[in-house]
């Protein structure tokens, strides 16, 4: 399991974003930006994923979906909120159906601001998430070793 932290898998979920950040996240996986060179792979299955990338704010309908995906992901996991809406609710903060940023329902580790977030900043966020995932993974290993010794 020691090499696992080098290639965490990423799951992207569109909360209530306007698609602006979504297409930028997708653009990050294509040849010009190619985020996969840092070892991450985009997956659709929450049970395979280590990094949870959310775009858009939380509304009453997708709240349970986000919570469910988070609970299905194996530990350790890193949550990445991409775009101003995912960070705080953004321009839609005052809308009746928006509860706020992703951190209103699940703990967020890394915030990537921007409307829409630029691919460069998304890549920066993902690279930080990879480093954090590695750290979390090491801590978990330490705990385990302490327990069994």
């Amino acid at each position: 399991m020691k090499t696992m932290h080098k290639s965490p898998w990423l799951l992207h979920y569109d909360g209530s974003s306007c698609n602006g950040c979504d297409i930028e996240v997708l653009a990050c996986t294509t040849p010009v930006y190619d985020v996969e060179r840092f070892g991450v792979v985009n997956t659709g299955n929450p049970m395979h994923a280590d990094i949870f990338l959310v775009t858009g704010g939380i509304n009453s309908q997708n709240e349970d979906v986000v919570k469910q995906i988070y609970s299905q992901m194996p530990d350790p996991k890193v949550v990445l909120a991409v775009g101003t809406c995912a960070c705080t609710g953004g321009i839609f903060k005052e809308c009746y159906n928006i509860k706020g940023g992703v951190d209103t329902v699940i703990p967020v580790d890394i915030y990537v601001p921007g409307c829409a977030a630029r691919p460069e900043s998304i890549i920066d966020g993902v690279v930080k998430a990879v480093a954090l995932f590695q750290k979390k993974h090491e801590e978990e290993e330490k705990k385990k070793n302490g327990r069994y010794r």
Partner: protein
Amino acid sequence: MAKRSVVPFGPQHPVLPEPIHLDLVMEDETVIEAVPSIGYVHRGLESLVKKKDFNEMVYVTERICGICSFMHGMGYCSAVEKIMNVEVPRRADYLRTIWSEMSRLHSHLLWLGLLADAFGFEALFMQSWRLREKILDMFEISTGGRVIFSVNKIGGVLKDMPEDMLKSFVSILNDMEKELSETTTVFLNEYTVRSRLEGVGIITKEDAIRRGAVGPMMRASGIEVDMRKTGYAAYSDIDFEVITSDKCDSLARCQVRIGEIFQSIGIIRQAVEKIPEGEISVPVKGNPDGEYFMRLEQPRGEAFYYVRANGTKFLDRMRVRTPTFANIPAMLQTLQGAQFADVPLLILTIDPCISCTER
């Protein structure tokens, strides 16, 4: 007697690009009925008219959708301009037309990529998105933003494109045309691609009318409908033919969109030739009072903007009917009798934009 079962599909699903939920009633591998439930992206942004004034609403409408962001802003601005009897300078109309067609180019290329992804042709997906990046670079040079660039204002546009910039864009597009024809040939002629698209998801001419389809979905069923022909912005000065197909299947929708990619390049070329010199915006004073109904052609089809103002700086009502909303009944029709494995592809052929639909 085959066994019936209901398969929930979405909102988060490995093959779905956007959050829509469908309950698929299946008989073995065949879909009998699809029951949609939407609302995963609903924000309620139309209610923001009570909290943000009519100038700030330009930025809100641009965020209805990040893909046709420019056209949403343009539709809203045009509606308010009509209420206030503001005559937009001709140069601004031309600039709006050029940015609109660039939006259509990038949206159709995005769709081609997603379609390739849906039938499992990863290399083609990457190729389409690589070409799309050139359009985004052009957006960035001319406006500073890649997907949301807020250049519309009530009374015109905020940024001008100098002559040499326009010329360089045309030469970029000329070079792109060759690469584009190489990529689109694969979509239209490659036998593996054809086997996935040909004869799949047929919607006849009568059905398309009855279900109220719009845009490329309607045109692929042989009906000539294009709001650009109503001559908003600078389209009245531009010569173009509406692209249609009589085949009514997924391949026809692909053909129509590919045709429109090349058509958009042609329209940009014409607009660059004809663009007049002059101001790019006029000052606007006072508050709007009255109502207006604006229709325009987005990459996905016809969109409506309804604005009602009461003479104060806050509008009474702003309503948007987006093309995907009109295309969902047609999509449900194509799903009836389809194979389960074709469902992601069929959802994609309408070019769904769920954040537009739910706002």
